[in-house]
Symmetry: D2
Subunit: 303 residues, 4 copies
């Protein structure tokens, strides 16, 4: 049986400053997404800026979120790290806090070859105390987990699924096809711009960054797709595309998606837009642009 | 109104040798795909090995195919070239042969910037005598036609659509969303591994290489998607994935997709597997593998 | 014995318009570089915009240049093409015009694997009537000719050398080391920013684009390097870097090097700055910048 | 005045297992390179597998090496990290241990834009208690520090130089040219395959991984280059190329350089070949190959 299905927001990490969680913001954010009906939370992914967060902040985030969620939905914790023992330590900590599963992208300094990836994930899955999800994220880690590598790793009893953020639809569908008969292996789509259609085709769900902002939209979309209601999927997917085109394209760098989501959350009164050092939030001009577009989306009143 | 919708196979170019068409093979191939019900043909794309074909062969292909098709379906002709005047000359020739439209990827030696792409396509669209489709193919030409560039070019009265072979589903959906209200601009998916789902979501069709082999499968898939029959789409898409996983993964180089399709067509008795120089067909071992898999797919009898 | 050593400018192609050579400009350009003492000319390379030129213009360029040079220095002709037979035809034509050698980068649409490159160059070297130089240009053709591939091809009696434009110094030195005992195989550096040092270390010369503008500087640099006069090499290389930093950095796209060189030649009264379609010359603002910098370099008077 | 010039080996990190230094090996390694006359040591770079080492191991390495070196040569410590505060903590620790300088590559998960790099290095240089070297390593961190960014950062009083491991000779020479008049800014070449020639041209030295194995060869090479003895540079550079071609090409993955150096050091009786988890040392077959080649190089007796 699959551990998790549905909409699992990759949570942003609300910060007061580089070393401290915005704990009130975190509380509001968790309640906001749970109110939207999401099926689980994914902490410490790319949207969560995990690799750039001090370890103490990562642990505090896992602990506090677990306390706030209090078992209402399962929590997945990202343990991606270049240091193998740090992944193990965080995995143990996550288990102690009550997390349901772990997620790991390949180590991201030395680019691993496919046999090295098999070896890496096997060792990790052998030692961590919770089910492990593979996290395919080639744009950040320079390598893609090949379809054959996914297939081989899926045989490991502690490998529970794949989160694919490549955006490569041929790859995603090849993984899904190859593992279509595995009743325990979940395949989740990263980019929210494709969540609707892949669930319609049988995928298990999506790790949609925009669900930080509009969780209900994504839950409705997932439900419509599971119900094979094509018209409703089209309609909701159009709303997702509208958010994507209005909010994520502001700013110029690799991290502008995160900046956009945090800025919008801040404008919506949910949490701070402070980013992990050394990144800065949007400047006043970009922030004003986000505000205007949230008004356009009906997520803020025009004042 | 959109010039073309549905399944448009990017036709392989049957060859006797590097300088001569396999004309009997071409005839069989055209009849094979037309019998499958395809909605148009696309000549001289990547699957057609266009950039590597002698110009005389390109012209002969356009002429002979037009004669064979004799107006039964519209024909699109690829005019991608690094030499601007060669694109224009082939466009005129295509028009004279009765083609319905043209397709052009960006010039592929100097990597163009986005303003250069706007300029390039504007000039081309200004001068060619048939509607022009943009062909996004970053893996071969090193640049992607940005969403904003597509949007800008879509305003040109002679730009008729986009064929996207990037495989990047976020990009594809962003283009489709941006141009959702343009009644004349068609958006076609390149990778066949995603054709079903994007048509279900409202895309106009697919340029599926596998439709050279199994045209009816793709036409059925398209029809099911247009009818919003999700179960049937899933079922047929699964067959597409099966072909993809069995036939296209043989061989190691950038051109192995073309080699696989031509080898299969040759084994199915349709046309020769000769490739444009200096590429060689599959060796005996790989050919035998393709044969076994075609038997497995039910496309050949076991003998 | 090596066919060619020293400074071999990759000649720009002076154009009146996209379909016609600027023949007077060509004459002035050839005399300009010959007056500087260059050891050979390389026609129809990247700087020559070869892949974008109509075939008739390519042939006319080879013919006219041969007539102008009249045997004073050897001429190398680029035959890079995606169409194998076009490479062969141009090679025959070059031979008929009296060229000394040929240069070919890998085919640039389908990215060839290393075994395919061995095969490609072997076939080409077998059939062309003049010595063939390998042209490593990964930024444009997407693949690098691996060191082992170069070593294998160097055994072919008709493969005469390597022009490496990768800018990867480890690769260049590995090729040179691997072939250090081959008395017939020439290794030429593409980027002029490194010509001095590699000749000092024993390389055979450079294909320096800037030698279109300042041929004597490069010849002096080559001579100083051959004479192992380190101080003089440093001094001249510094001038090369100055030109590079002032002229080539203007403009934003992949072709801005060519634009800069053509613009400077036009300002120096040598030839037209028309580019192969669909590229445009620098606009007035960029042209003024080039003018100012040529004054700064002492190549134009301030007026 | 430049803080450091000459040969600065990027030290491998000898390990007993993933969590413990091979302290006896470290001692032998340090004495081995100091006996060769190197001008400084660089700890915790790519060759040192820094991003993959547990933090405790990093600190222990800095402390023990400082004790062993005991001021005989300056020590540079790599503080590259995705977590800003970890860079700061290690910088303080390095200072306390008596290190002379720090080295940092860009954060390597989110790819920074150039303005972000200016911001990042400015903040880092503002806060660390020792001179900071920029470390350009695009193959691992996905971004190159642009020439203009280097020039801008060089103005910061606490930025002391650049280690360029890009292998892009045009980039290296452009940086050196741009900063030729800065008496305090050192420019060091990463790839050892080019150290000789760039020092001949005026660069400040090299961070040559092979100096772990053959420190005296690199010191002799550096001295010959400083003395402008071209023939001697050629001769020694040829030995460097021989080592490079024999030892570094074994193995297939991104980390095979490190594996090759550690394997050779182990065979030479200097230190263990254990790698940071989850990487494995060469298998018996590759190890035997390294042994044979060390014999061929005269670094091991044939037994």
């Amino acid at each position: 049986m699959k551990l998790i299905k549905g909409v699992v927001p990759p949570m942003v990490t609300p910060l007061v400053d580089n070393e401290h969680l915005d704990e009130r913001g975190l509380e509001r954010l968790v309640e906001h997404v749970l109110a939207g009906g999401v099926h689980g939370l994914f902490l410490l992914g790319t949207t969560g800026e995990a690799p750039d967060l001090p370890y103490e902040v990562r642990r505090r985030l896992v602990q506090r979120t677990s306390e706030i969620v209090a078992g209402r939905v399962p929590i997945l914790v990202g343990v991606t790290d270049t240091v193998f023992t740090e992944s193990l330590k965080l995995a143990e900590f996550a288990k102690a806090c009550g997390a349901a599963g772990l997620v790991a992208a390949p180590p991201y300094y030395f680019a691993a070859g496919q046999p090295e990836l098999v070896d890496y994930y096997t060792r990790l899955a052998d030692r961590v105390p919770l089910p492990l999800y593979l996290y395919n994220m080639p744009s950040q880690v320079k390598v893609s987990i090949a379809v054959q590598t996914v297939v081989e790793l899926a045989k490991h009893p502690n490998v529970a699924g794949l989160k694919d953020s490549s955006g490569n639809i041929g790859y995603f569908n090849a993984c899904r096809y190859a593992l279509r008969n595995d009743p325990d292996f979940a395949i989740l789509m990263g980019p929210e711009e494709a969540m609707g259609e892949v669930v319609l085709m049988g995928a298990d769900g999506g790790v949609a960054g925009g669900a930080n902002l509009f969780p209900k939209t994504f839950v409705d979309l997932y439900d419509a797709a599971v119900a094979k209601d094509v018209d409703r999927v089209r309609e909701l997917q159009e709303r997702v595309m509208r958010v994507s085109s209005l909010i994520y394209g502001i700013g110029h760098h690799n991290s502008s998606f995160v900046k956009g989501v945090k800025c919008a959350l801040s404008l919506m009164g949910i949490c701070s837009d402070v980013l992990a050092a050394p990144r800065e939030p949007f400047n006043a001009r970009d922030r004003e642009l986000v505000r205007e577009r949230l008004v356009e989306l009906g997520a803020l009143s025009a004042q």
